[in-house]
């Protein structure tokens, strides 16, 4: 199965044309499907599976944006999405796969929904960051409008992820909220994008700030996903 992941990483990095990006996404989804069928569940445990899932989410969420009329003028955008997805597919490669059955506490649809929605949101925040770069490089108002849309849909996925996580937590742990580093950073990320969406109300004078915030948001996303797992002790760590 790993050759599929390697192929997807290579194709993503080479995706200067949209069909190559689609082929990379196909390999990425085929890899995740084969892992899922082998495990009998969504592959969401351990760094290998989550990085591959993140890469697939970036590709899947990026697809409507690379086919959008508003990004046709941004020549590097398709490659940018591919490079980002390819980077995380490549990062997944050195890690071993974890093929154990889900621990009983994780064996619920609420957990799978919680994690999958979070990765869809992370993917959209990544696309929003690229669109912020496109705006700052002269991509014009359409790039900023698309960035807003990507972030808004990402925020919606992320909010639903938090709700499903709260329901899972209540049935699994006895509480919908725990004071751990991961929950704190999840809240920080949610508030960050709440702030981002509110900042739009300040109008055109803040357009550059808005674009920058979309870029910084993805850094907060990466810290929430990877930084907390690697640097802090939490029940959410890999």
């Amino acid at each position: 199965m790993k050759p599929l992941l390697i192929t997807s990483a290579l194709l993503y990095v080479a995706s200067i044309r949209r069909p190559i990006f689609v082929a990379a996404l196909g390999c990425s989804l085929a890899y995740l499907a084969s892992r899922g069928m082998g495990l009998g569940r969504l592959p969401l445990i351990g760094p290998q599976d989550t990085l591959a899932f993140f890469s697939g989410s970036l590709g899947l969420m990026g697809l409507p944006f690379i086919y959008s009329r508003q990004t046709r003028g941004i020549r590097w955008f398709c490659w940018g999405c591919g490079a980002l997805a390819g980077l995380f597919a490549a990062l997944a490669l050195p890690f071993p796969t974890i093929n154990m059955p889900l621990p009983p506490i994780l064996d619920t649809y609420w957990f799978e929904l919680h994690v999958a929605l979070a990765f869809f949101a992370y993917g959209l925040f990544g696309i929003a960051a690229l669109l912020g770069v496109a705006f700052l490089q002269g991509g014009g108002k359409p790039a900023l409008d698309l960035q807003y849309r990507a972030a808004l849909v990402g925020y919606s996925f992320f909010s639903l992820s938090m709700v499903s996580g709260g329901i899972w937590g209540y049935y699994a742990w006895g509480t919908y909220w725990l004071w751990t580093a991961k929950e704190l950073w999840t809240s920080i990320l949610w508030i960050f994008y709440s702030l981002y969406l509110h900042l739009r109300l300040k109008g055109q004078a803040w357009e550059r700030g808005f674009a920058w915030l979309g870029i910084v948001g993805f850094l907060v996303t990466l810290f929430t996903y990877l930084g907390v797992s690697m640097l802090m002790r939490s029940s959410h760590s890999f």
Binding site: V163, Y176, I191
Partner: protein
């Protein structure tokens, strides 16, 4: 004077600064040992913990709570102010209402929450505050191919009959949730139980539903724009 305070409270800038304040205090707190799993913050209701923890340990949480209190008022006043004007979309204000309910839910849990952990062998019992006994009738588990527990359950006898608890399927009784957290089968079957009371859970769920409805309405309104 009152008009000036009202105007300040409805200010978008105030909301943005408060959100920044909440983020900064939570970020600082995430590096504090108070938020580690050994920090004790998850073992008792938040308000109890805040009263007992030294200020040098809990200062970030006090600041965060202060920001959230003012943010609560800011979101409430903003929504009331906007809804008084005609032609405004109700979607963002449903999201505000959901947020406000979730904050209230945290306050309820921070004041009236309860958590107790106990390790009990098969045949032992524990009591509810009103004197009712809960007897651990049977503890079972299945060991998976890698030697880890792949499933476990405990059967509990209460005044109204026999009930099973297993991971993700707690037993709710008299406002408390009884959770089985772990099981060891030898030398004698023993289970780790937790009894929780989360008075804010329903309010948080209603808040989350209202927030989600508002969010979906906002997405529908922004579609195609």
């Amino acid at each position: 004077m009152l008009k000036a305070i009202y105007s300040r409270l409805t200010s978008l800038n105030l909301g943005l600064w408060l959100m920044t304040g909440v983020m900064v205090t939570l970020a600082l707190g995430s590096f504090s040992s108070a938020s580690s799993e050994q920090g004790g913050l998850n073992d008792m209701p938040l308000l109890f913990w805040l009263q007992r923890a030294p200020l040098g340990y809990s200062w970030w949480l006090w600041l965060c709570v202060a920001c959230i209190v003012v943010l609560f008022v800011n979101a409430l006043v903003c929504s009331i102010d906007a809804l008084r004007r005609k032609g405004r979309s109700v979607a963002p204000h449903l999201m505000h209402a959901g947020f406000l309910l979730i904050v209230l839910a945290h306050l309820l849990s921070a004041y009236g929450g309860f958590k107790q952990q106990m390790q009990l062998p098969q045949g032992d019992s524990f009591g509810f505050p009103d004197g009712e006994r809960v007897v651990v009738e049977k503890i079972t588990g299945q060991v998976g191919p890698m030697g880890m527990m792949s499933g476990y359950r405990a059967e509990l006898r209460l005044s109204d009959g026999l009930h099973a608890v297993q991971p993700n399927q707690p037993l709710f009784h008299k406002g408390y949730g009884i959770y089985v957290k772990d099981v060891a089968l030898s030398p004698v079957p023993v289970a780790l139980f937790e009894v929780h009371k989360e008075p804010g859970a329903l309010t948080a769920f209603i808040g989350a539903l209202i927030f989600t409805v508002g969010n979906l309405m906002l997405l529908a309104q922004r579609k195609g724009r």
